[in-house]
C-alpha cells in the first residue's frame, strides 16, 4: 500500500469513527466498495424477489381491503428495490449488471423467499415476522456508514414498520377469528418462525463478512445481537395472539435479561440456501421470464427515445 493510500485510508477510517457518512465521491477502499455493492444489491434483489411470494396471494386475498393493502405492499417492495439499486449505482455498478448477477446466481437474495406461501396466513406471518426481522436489521442500518445506503434505509424503514403492523393485523384477525382461522395463524407461525431467525445469518462466530463490516460500520450490530432483539420482541406478540410458541426450548433468562432459545436447524438453513428450498428455481425462473418478456418493451423505449433525440437534433440543425 502506498503512503498516499495509507493516508487516504486513515482519513476514511477517521471519518467513519467520527460517525461521518461516506459519500459517493469520497475516496474509499476497494474492499469497502465491494462489500457494500454486495450487501446493497443483495438487499435490492431481496426486495424484488420478495414481490413473488406475496404477489402469489394478491389474486386470492380474502377481502378487498386486504387485497388493496397487499397490492400496495408488493408495490412498495418494488419501490424499495428501486431505491436500493440506485444506492448501489452510486458505487459504480449498473442495474443491468446487478440483474444479470441475480439471474446467473452470482448475487444472492434473502433465502427466506425460497419458502413457499401456502396459505393466506403466510401473508400475515411474512409481514409480521419476515418484515419484523428485516426491520431489526434495517433500523441498525439507518446508521450505516455509507450515506446513500443509510438514507435509503431511513425511507425504507418507515414503510417496513407499516408493513409489519399490517402483517400483524392479519395475524390478529386470524388468531381472534374462527378456530379454522386460528389454525391458519398457528400453522403459518410454525413454518415462518425459524426461517425468520435464520434471516439474521449465521452465528457471529461463523459469519464471513462480519468483522470487517463492523469496523467499517457497514454493519452496526452483530447477527446474534439483532437476532436476540427479534426473539425478545416476538415473545409477547405471540402471547398476545394466544398462539403456541414454536420454540419449545424458549426460556426467560433473568441474568441475561433475554430469552434463551432452542438451536436453529442450520442444516436446513444451508440446505435452502444451497438450492433445496421449494422455490429457489421458481423465483429465478420467474424473474428471468418476466425480464425476457419485457425485453421488447425496453428495446422499444430505447428506440423511441433515440428517435426523439434525432428528431430534436434535426429540428435544431
Amino acid at each position: 500500500m502506498s503512503t498516499n493510500e495509507q493516508s487516504l485510508e486513515t482519513t476514511f477510517q477517521n471519518k467513519i469513527d467520527s460517525e461521518l457518512k461516506i459519500e459517493p465521491k469520497d475516496w474509499m477502499p476497494d474492499a469497502y466498495r465491494k462489500n457494500l455493492v454486495r450487501q446493497i444489491s443483495q438487499h435490492a434483489h431481496s426486495e424484488v424477489i420478495g414481490e413473488q411470494p406475496e404477489g402469489n396471494w394478491i389474486t386470492r386475498a380474502p377481502s378487498l381491503r386486504r387485497k388493496a393493502v397487499l397490492l400496495a405492499k408488493v408495490q412498495d417492495e418494488a419501490g424499495h428495490g428501486l431505491y436500493l439499486y440506485s444506492a448501489a449505482e452510486t458505487l459504480g455498478v449498473s442495474r443491468a449488471e446487478m440483474i444479470e448477477a441475480l439471474q446467473t446466481g452470482k448475487a444472492k437474495y434473502a433465502s427466506i423467499f425460497n419458502y413457499p406461501t401456502q396459505t393466506w396466513g403466510d401473508i400475515g406471518a411474512i409481514g409480521w415476522l419476515v418484515d419484523g426481522a428485516a426491520i431489526c436489521n434495517q433500523v441498525s442500518l439507518q446508521r450505516t456508514s455509507y450515506g446513500p445506503y443509510a438514507r435509503s434505509m431511513i425511507r425504507i424503514c418507515k414503510e417496513e414498520s407499516f408493513h409489519q403492523r399490517q402483517g400483524y393485523q392479519i395475524m390478529i384477525e386470524l388468531a381472534k377469528g374462527t378456530p379454522e382461522q386460528k389454525q391458519l395463524a398457528q400453522d403459518s407461525l410454525n413454518r415462518f418462525y425459524w426461517p425468520s431467525l435464520m434471516m439474521f445469518g449465521p452465528h457471529d462466530s461463523e459469519s464471513a463478512h462480519s468483522a470487517k463490516s463492523m469496523k467499517w460500520k457497514i454493519k452496526r450490530e452483530t447477527n446474534d445481537d439483532l437476532r436476540q432483539k427479534f426473539i425478545d420482541q416476538t415473545v409477547p406478540q405471540i402471547e398476545f395472539l394466544g398462539l403456541e410458541h414454536p420454540d419449545k426450548a424458549l426460556k426467560w433468562n433473568e441474568k441475561r435479561g433475554h430469552y434463551d432459545s432452542g438451536e436453529i436447524d442450520w442444516e436446513e438453513f444451508y440446505n435452502v440456501i444451497n438450492g433445496n428450498g421449494h422455490c429457489n428455481r421458481q423465483r429465478i425462473e420467474h424473474h428471468v421470464k418476466a425480464h425476457e418478456e419485457g425485453a421488447w418493451v425496453r428495446d422499444a423505449q430505447n428506440a423511441y427515445n433515440a428517435k426523439v433525440k434525432q428528431r430534436q437534433a434535426q429540428a435544431v440543425a
Partner: protein, 258 residues
Amino acid sequence: MTINTQNDSTADIIEYALRLGDDSLILGHRLSEWASNGPFLEEDIALGNVALDYLGRARMYYTYAAELSGEGKTEDDYAYLRDERDFSNHLLNELPKGDFAYTIVRQLFIDVFNALYLPLLQQSADENLAAIASKSIKETRYHLRRSQDWCIRLGDGTEESHQRMQKSLGELWGYVHELFEQDALEDRLIEQDIAVDSSGLKDKWLAQITETLNKATLAVPDAEWAVRGGRKGYHTEHLGHLLSVMQSVHRRYPGAKW
C-alpha cells in the same frame, strides 16, 4: 337525494353502481396480475398504482350499493359472493392481461372512455356517484397520460413493438362497442340525470383514439366485429377462471372476517 327514497330508482342505482364497480374490480384484478411481471421495476410500480386506483373505485361503488341495499351487505359480499352470471362488467375488462402491448391498448381504450365518462358522472343527480367520479377523475387523467405515452412509444418504437400494438388493437377492437350501449335500466337513470348517457361519447372517443394512434404511427382498426353481453352477465370464458381464483379463500371460510 330524494331519489333514494323511491324504491324503483334505488334498485336501479344499486345495479348501476354494481356495474361500475364490477368494471373497476375486474380491470383492477387484471392489472394486479402484473405484480412482479412488468418489463422493469418502474412499471411494476406504475401498473400497481393503476390497479390500486381501480380497486379503490370498486370499493367505493360497492360500498355505496351496499348502503343503498340496506341489507347489511358489505363491499366484500358483492366481490366475493356473486357468481359469474351476476357480474356485469364490460367484457373488455375481463380479457386476460396478455402482453404489455395488449394491456396498454386496453388501458388506452378505457382511459379515453373514462376521461369522457367521469366528468359527466360528476354531474350526476346522485351525489354519491358524483363524489366517486370526482375522486376518480384526477387518477384517470394520470392513467390516460401514461397510456397515451406508452402507446406512442411502443407504436413508434421498434418494428416488433409496432406489430404487437397493431395486433392488440385488432384483437381488442370488437370489445369497445358495448362501452357505448345502454339498456332500459340505464335509460331510466339517464332520464333522471343519474346515469351517464355514453352513447353520445363514441364520436369523441374515436376522435381521441385516432389522434393518439396517428401519433403512434398505428392504424385505427376498421374491423366490423362486435362482441357484447357483459352488462347482462353474458361473459367470455375468462371471467369464470378469474373469479374461481379471486373468491377461493373467501368462499372457503364462510362468514369469517379478515
